[in-house]
């Protein structure tokens, strides 16, 4: 069923009892052309673009839990493309452009809100670094600008920009096309669109082994039995190393908990996204009125999906210093997701030493913004058995060749 104002009216007249399921829940077939491991945003986007751009529809997406229950449902929903290096800028900008047309493309409102993303500068070095980055970003044809203190204050009146502040605001970079989107809607919309093109989405199906024959992948062992496949794509953020180890592949990835939290809902006070790399904090206000805040990663490896209290204490101290008005708010929920971090803070979207096995991971703390772009280039990589120009630099071999894409400066915490 196509969602439209007419279908809404028609179903309203039927007391909304006639809506069909957004996607099927089929039993797994014994064999697929492509099996995607991981039913988060990136995996679903991969399946969708495999079907849409490459005509490969005999595809299964295997998810051990439920759709979007991992990092897709745990991030702070920020979207932007203000990256320093050309390789990253092109990849993330491609993703942002896909986001801009995604609601129409998949006939599902992902509630994209391009409310702007501010990155604060608290000292002279921050300001010079942001200026340099803004120049580089503009040379790549991506919108970005520098604001001075008065402009930042005018845009965000509740920000403590006084000279006496612990973190004085000397300026900020602004990407107006940046913003937020509804993360669940991204997962559900992509699932529905992929399903409509014939992709089988199979939840509660955990992959326990990767079957190979003479250096070539032939299928996956799952909790619902053996599923044969010509090609297998691993898109299991947080657990990329665990899946890769099943095929004997070592990765440069380390998994860490990353925490976020939301406040009780309040009236609109913050109409943009404010990030500060220097104090490890970022905040926006959701459509429900909750303030959504994110912290830095925990310092040690972990798969526990819960982080350490000192990390969020540090982040909240900074937020309250920057926004004194928030000091009396109560926090409602706090959670952690497991992010897989690469040494150069850039993802791996790559072929592997195993024929027919592909890996998309290592997105660190910044995967959500890349969801459609990541799926788009990964679908190309799988379908053509070679990377697209947009993800050629993000191969696994760069850790041997030394051609790293070092984005630590562009991302820091709030990736």
């Amino acid at each position: 069923m196509k969602y439209s104002i007419f279908s809404l009216v028609r179903n309203a007249l039927g007391y909304h009892e006639g809506w069909p399921r957004a996607w099927r829940s089929p039993d797994p077939k014994p064999e697929y052309d492509v099996v995607i491991v991981g039913g988060g945003g990136h995996g679903l986007a991969t399946a969708y673009y495999l079907a849409k751009e490459h005509g490969i529809t005999n595809v299964a997406v295997l998810e051990k839990g439920w759709l979007g229950g991992g990092n897709t449902g745990r991030n702070t929903t920020i979207i932007r493309s203000n990256y320093l290096w050309d390789e990253s800028a092109h990849l993330y900008e491609h993703s942002l452009k896909l986001y801009e047309g995604l609601s129409q493309d998949i006939n599902y409102n992902i509630m994209l809100s391009q409310r702007g993303v501010l990155n604060l500068a608290h000292n002279l070095h921050d300001l010079r670094e942001l200026s340099r980055r803004v120049n580089a970003i503009r040379l790549n044809g991506i919108d970005s600008e520098i604001l001075d203190t008065a402009q930042v204050k005018a845009m965000v009146p509740i920000l403590n920009a006084s000279q006496q502040s612990r973190y004085p605001v000397l300026g900020a970079s602004l990407q107006k096309r940046g913003g937020v989107a509804r993360h669940d809607a991204v997962a559900w919309g992509l699932a529905r669109a992929a399903d409509a093109r014939g992709v089988d989405i199979i939840q509660q199906c955990e992959v326990t082994g990767i079957v190979r024959d003479g250096g070539k992948v032939t299928g996956v062992e799952t909790t619902r039995g053996l599923i044969r496949a010509g090609k297998v794509g691993i898109v299991t953020a947080g657990h990329t190393s665990v899946l890769a180890a099943m095929a004997g592949i070592r990765l440069p990835i380390e998994s860490h908990p990353l925490q976020a939290l939301v406040s009780e809902p309040i009236k609109p006070v913050l109409h943009t996204v404010v990030m500060s790399n220097a104090v490890h904090a970022y905040v926006s206000q959701s459509d429900r009125g909750e303030l959504v805040m994110g912290a830095g990663i925990d310092g040690y490896n972990g798969y526990s999906q819960r982080g350490s209290i000192p990390v969020i204490e540090h982040m909240l101290a900074s937020i309250v210093e920057l926004f004194p008005i928030f000091s009396r708010l109560r926090m409602m929920r706090q959670w952690g997701g497991i992010v897989d971090t690469c040494p150069d803070a850039s993802p791996i979207i790559s072929k592997t030493p195993v024929d027919g096995l592909y890996i998309n991971g290592g997105w660190g703390t910044g995967g959500f913004k890349a969801t459609p772009g990541s799926g788009w280039v990964f679908a190309h990589t799988i379908a053509q058995d070679r990377p697209h120009a947009l993800n050629a630099a993000f191969n696994l071999d760069r850790f041997t060749s030394g051609a790293l894409v070092d984005e630590h400066g562009a991302a820091a915490v709030a990736h």
Binding site: S255, G302, F399, T400, S401
Partner: protein, 99 residues
């Protein structure tokens, strides 16, 4: 908040410590003799174990000494603590483990 037992100072909060990553990665004797792939494996590749993980910690805000911890990365249970130069408990190497 983890409570980590320093072998010299006893149990302290995790905020007193810094993390040193996977333990028992030995720096190659002769890096020049390695291929790029072997060097990349030493430099970048990590087990990133889900479960019992042997790792290094330093008591930055205490005695400032390094030591090894075996911790379950899925549950954060600390399984064992042992000093630098000691082999992990229960691995049967007889005490000549790498630092």
């Amino acid at each position: 908040m983890l409570s980590i037992p320093c072998p010299w100072c006893g149990p302290r909060d995790e905020t007193e410590y810094s993390y040193g990553g996977e333990a028992h990665i030995v720096r190659p004797e002769d890096p020049q003799a390695l291929s790029d792939r072997e060097w990349a494996d030493y430099l970048f590749m990590r087990a990133n174990t889900k479960g019992a993980h042997r790792e290094r910690w330093v008591h930055s805000h205490g005695c400032r000494r390094w030591f090894n911890v075996e911790r379950n990365t899925a549950t954060n249970e600390i399984i064992a603590v042992y000093k630098m130069g000691e082999s992990p408990p229960g691995d049967g190497t007889g005490g000549d483990g790498a630092p």
